[in-house]
């Protein structure tokens, strides 16, 4: 690890002003310290935000939930109201990492976790995300875990998390406070970026920005499902995951919010797929067309070609389960 200075933030203004001056926040630290040990990241200054008052889950006036940025993944997944009315979020969080990591990892930090691309982690290799302009080794290399949607010639890394995939399907928003003290709300689906020519930027945060909470809108009725496919039964990142919130009206689909993990540089949501489903009777043919739509622009890079067929099967399986007659909410 390269040397860094360490300071505890006293309050939000202290935290954001230090961050605006090039300091890096540390909360749970489970991803940042992993990367700092490998010198993939080398912050000069760490600002510990763990003492800030951001560890509460509270109800919003609208009937949703405000999850403080420092709420641990364990506490969020175990929160009684999250379990009752946002089960897809509990399931997604429980699908990720290990008990030890979920105890330490925070809501804000989880949103900011970085890709597990092998070449991003290997400082002997070129990587446009780690070192802009150096090239992308994954394009021609080992790319089993890499993106099939929304990638660029500069980067085919994926966003690795589960939590944000469920939050994307739930239309949650990230609450961000800037160094100037301004608070803004960004939909989770717009928080992460596609790589384009600047894969070094994972998300829309600017210097000095502090994530203060994630806001869940009032709960929707319908079936909620989180399905994750990975290389081992537990404690592994998704090759493909899917969060679904589907409501039926009689024998027709009334609404469908679908988000996918492990496929792109961000949790992937395709409104054209959802529009194609709404108002229709569930059928194998309909789900096949939904998969065609979702994967129309999909591209494999060799080792990850299988993800195209895998994603089709995951989509069809989850939609079949979600629209089954008598499916419990």
């Amino acid at each position: 690890m390269k040397p860094f200075t360490y300071a505890k933030a006293n309050d939000r203004a202290d935290a954001t002003s230090q961050a605006a001056d090039d300091a890096t926040f540390i909360a749970g630290g489970t991803n940042l310290l992993d990367l700092t040990k490998l010198e993939v990241m080398a912050p000069d200054r760490l600002v510990d935000i763990n003492r800030l008052d951001l560890a509460e889950i509270s109800e919003t006036d609208e009937g949703g939930l405000r999850i403080g940025a420092l709420v641990s993944n364990s506490d969020c997944a175990a929160h009684v109201r999250v379990r009752q009315v946002y089960p897809v979020l509990s399931r997604a969080i429980l699908a990720g990492a290990s008990g030890q990591l979920r105890n330490k990892a925070t809501t804000g930090g989880n949103l900011c976790q970085r890709t597990r691309c092998y070449y991003f982690y290997d400082t002997a290799m070129p990587c446009n995300k780690r070192e802009p302009g150096s090239g992308c080794q994954a394009l021609q290399g080992f790319n089993r875990i890499h993106a099939i949607l929304g990638a660029s010639e500069a980067c085919i890394a994926t966003y690795p998390g589960d939590m944000a995939v469920a939050m994307t399907a739930l239309d949650a928003a990230v609450e961000i406070e800037s160094a100037a003290g301004e608070v803004r709300l960004i939909p989770v689906r717009d928080f992460h970026r596609l790589p384009g020519d600047h894969p070094e930027k994972d998300n829309i945060l600017e210097a000095g920005d502090l994530i203060t909470a994630v806001i869940l809108p009032p709960p929707v009725t319908g079936r909620q499902i989180y399905r994750k496919v990975r290389d081992r039964a537990s404690y592994a990142f998704a090759l493909c995951s899917m969060a679904a919130v589907v409501e039926m009206d009689g024998d027709r689909i009334a609404s469908a919010a679908l988000a996918f993990g492990g496929l792109a540089h961000k949790p992937w949501r395709d409104e054209a797929v959802e529009a194609l489903l709404v108002g229709e009777k569930p059928s194998a043919a309909l789900f096949g067309r939904a998969a065609d739509q979702l994967l129309a622009e999909a591209r494999g890079y060799g080792s990850n070609d299988f993800k195209i067929a895998l994603t089709r099967r995951v989509l069809i399986a989850v939609l079949t389960e979600a629209t089954q007659e008598g499916a419990a909410a």
């Binding site: 690890m1 040397p3 860094f4 200075t5 360490y6 540390i26 749970g28 630290g29 489970t30 310290l33 992993d34 040990k37 760490l46 510990d48 763990n50 641990s72 364990s74 997944a77 175990a78 379990r83 009752q84 089960p87 509990s90 399931r91 429980l94 699908a95 990492a97 290990s98 008990g99 030890q100 990591l101 105890n103 330490k104 039964a233 537990s234 404690y235």
Partner: protein
């Protein structure tokens, strides 16, 4: 250098250490508590698991200076020869190890995991998010997936934990 006050197994320590020192290295190299093991040093193996403020965490992935004022329990604080904790005794009775290197992490992890289950926390394999009534072998395996055992003593580790947690095989 950072000054950090840690309470480890009920004893207060004042630590003077570089900001880069992880909680794991502080315990082993500064406080001489070598029961906590360093495996991968990247949060993948669980050998370094300790209990901080009642929660199991990977001590390799946190800085000691982030824990000023915290209460920490390591394997040395759970029991000692002649006065083993229930889980320590169960690991002996069920031969829940071979080389023993992952064992302190397994036992610290399981100690806190049983409390998580008692608090009603569900897991990825729980059919009902209200949480399981008893810890099945499948539940124990999923909840312990952050602790690897290279000797693959998993069946006996599960047996030891089930005995203490009172679950059904």
């Amino acid at each position: 250098m950072e000054t950090t006050e840690l309470t480890v197994n009920g004893k207060r320590h004042e630590l003077e250490a570089d900001s880069r020192v992880t909680l794991l290295d502080a315990l082993r190299n500064h406080l001489g508590l070598t029961g906590t093991k360093k495996g991968c040093d990247h949060g993948q193996c669980g050998a370094c698991t300790v209990i901080v403020e009642g929660r199991r965490i990977n001590s390799c992935l946190t800085l000691a200076c982030m824990h000023d004022g915290d209460e920490i329990t390591t394997i040395e604080g759970l029991g000692e020869p002649g006065n083993l904790s229930d889980l320590q005794a169960a690991f002996v009775a069920h031969d829940g190890f071979q080389c023993g290197y992952c064992t302190p992490g397994q036992i610290c992890s399981a100690t806190a995991m049983i409390e998580e289950a008692k608090a009603g926390w569900p897991s990825f394999v729980s059919d009902d998010l209200a949480g399981p009534d008893a810890l099945s072998d499948e539940e124990i395996s999923e909840r312990m997936s952050g602790n690897l055992c290279r000797c693959a003593a998993y069946p006996n580790i599960v047996n030891a934990i089930r005995q203490v947690a009172g679950g059904k095989s």
